[in-house]
Amino acid sequence: MAALVARLTDDLSRRTMIWLAALFVALLIAPWVVGDYLVTVLILILYLAYTGQAWNIMMGFAGQLSLGHAIYAGLGAYIAAVLFTRYGVGPWFGLLAAMPVAAGCGAVIGYLAFRFGVTGVYFAILTIAFAEFARIGFDHLGVVNAAAGLFLPVAQYTHNDLWRLRGDPTMFYYVMLAATLAAFVLCRLLIKSRIGYFWLAIREDEEAARAAGIDTFRYKMYAVMISAAVTSFAGVFYAFFYNNLFPEQVFNISQSIQMILGPIIGGVGTLFGPILGAFVLTGLAESLNSALTACGLDLPGAEQVFYGVCLLLVVATLPEGIWPWLARRLGVTELA
């Protein structure tokens, strides 16, 4: 354990450590300080930070642009929900089933693409095509109630049941906080390991990486499979938190887009970018929503227009994302 901590922190400045610790403590005590509404907003933020971190493994580390990550979350959500409603299997065992299936799905997409030199934009379109395929497929799949949606039973909770993921928002908040922390640590371990350096080499120049003897096909496959498996937990969480699943929502391209906005705005390829991006984006969007509500306006597309404008501005003016810029300002380590 001590060795692990040392490995995680050996190249961080004292200043960085203090900031990290302060942030973690703030997140830890947040539910006692803020109200119920803000706890659900924080859950959404952590959810996006987590999925963004998972997506970042593929795009930020290995340089493979996926625009269909909703498929992995969706598979995770449906597998856990079906196992729970039909066979009474708890979410954590459901996760054990969901992760290999999502990784397998990622492997199929990766195999098809990387084997035949489908790269760049073509790869992105292939990932969208698979997610759309899943959306329409699940819309017609009787086992999961097709387009009518799958519902998890909602009972009156007398107590928080962590094992079956039934409880109040505060419990879900801590589950998501733990998951976000775990994803953060996992990514830091990966990026500081041999596999991480290989990914970065592939991202920077795939030809050169291959010339240097890296089996680029294999390491790209690892990236998509790990990313998919990590993302599938977000789906399991989604199923048990919202208690309803519709293919039209779960596999929608807007889900995939929302997952990638955080890391892009925060900083692709950085460990802290997805977290910062999720906070900035959701924070601003919620403020916008309350401002619109206060003005008595009900504009269903306003939040999305706002996301679009944010994405546009960041891509045009800060292509590296906010975090590298902010990290220099704060004088802290950029973290990969």
Partner: protein, 290 residues
């Protein structure tokens, strides 16, 4: 099912496919020359569709007549977009351009949602329920008009690229960017023109689509994907490929809708995409990149 049902559905799919082809032609022209992947293509089409719907419901202007002015509006939009927003991005990494257009697509879809609401709109022309009969074959008149207009528009485009000086200059830009600069072509202006032409294509296709389908703000992303599937199937950058891909996808969708269920039809289009990416990544008529 009797044989003539299949025939009718297939011909209907083929006619719709020609309009798809024109839409995809716009995407193909833009990619082939500017090398920018227009991820807001279907969204640009939905702008044209809403223009046609509004002009029809407010002034009873027939979409077939409004095709030219609306295509012109989209041309100006595309020209301005390329010279104002996208041009600084042409030297940026591919994914950076891609995300810029994703952002634009999100803005267009949701602005349309705010302005027009989520309900489907439609154009009820006098000839909406007319049909032509040829033996056992019965086809909707609106589809025939739309397909004929698509062929006309595509033919004009081919002629433009083949016979006019500007068309040749644009092809020169596509063939060799540096060479085009060396011989003194104004590449930025030609890029903007090309983007405008691509936008005009998709605008014209959109106006004709209003004769065939209802329009909602959410169809933008669907048609963007469809355009990609068509263009990749036919061969990115190949103009005949885009038309051929359009016909192929139109036929597939129509037959899949008949044999399975209409709501599952795009699954088959995606299936074709996966097969093409697997076995002929450069597309049916595409040339393999050197």
């Amino acid at each position: 099912m009797p044989y003539d049902v299949y025939l009718n559905v297939a011909v209907g799919g083929l006619l719709t496919g020609l309009v798809y082809g024109l839409m995809a032609l716009g995407l193909s022209v833009i990619f082939g020359v500017v090398r920018v992947v227009n991820f807001a293509h279907g969204e640009m089409m939905s702008i044209a569709m809403y223009l046609a719907v509004v002009l029809f419901s407010a002034f009873h202007l027939d979409p077939l007549i409004m095709m030219v002015p609306i295509a012109a509006v989209l041309f100006v939009f595309g020209y301005a977009l390329q010279s104002g927003l996208i041009n600084p991005f042409i030297t940026r990494p591919e994914h950076s351009q891609f995300l810029l257009l994703v952002a634009l697509a999100i803005i267009i879809v949701n602005t349309l949602l705010i302005v027009f609401g989520p309900d489907a709109r439609t154009v009820q022309t006098a000839y909406a329920f007319d049909s032509f009969q040829l033996g056992a074959l019965i086809v909707a008149a609106a589809k025939v008009y739309a397909a004929a207009a698509a062929i006309l528009f595509a033919a004009l485009l081919f002629a433009f690229f083949r016979f006019t000086l500007i068309g040749k200059a644009i092809r020169a830009c596509a063939d060799n960017y540096t060479g085009a600069l060396v011989v003194g072509l104004n590449v930025n202006r030609l890029y903007a023109l090309t983007f405008g032409i691509g936008a005009a294509c998709v605008g014209a296709a959109g106006v004709m689509m209003t004769l065939i389908v209802d329009v909602t703000p959410m169809i933008g992303p669907t048609y963007t994907l469809l355009a990609f599937v068509i263009v990749i199937t036919g061969g990115l950058g190949s103009m005949p490929g885009a038309l051929l891909g359009g016909i192929l996808i139109g036929l597939t969708e129509a037959l899949a809708g008949l044999l399975f269920t209409p709501s599952a039809k795009s699954m088959f289009a995606f299936g074709i995409l996966v097969l093409v990416l697997l076995f002929r990544p450069q597309g049916i008529l595409g040339k393999r990149a050197a």
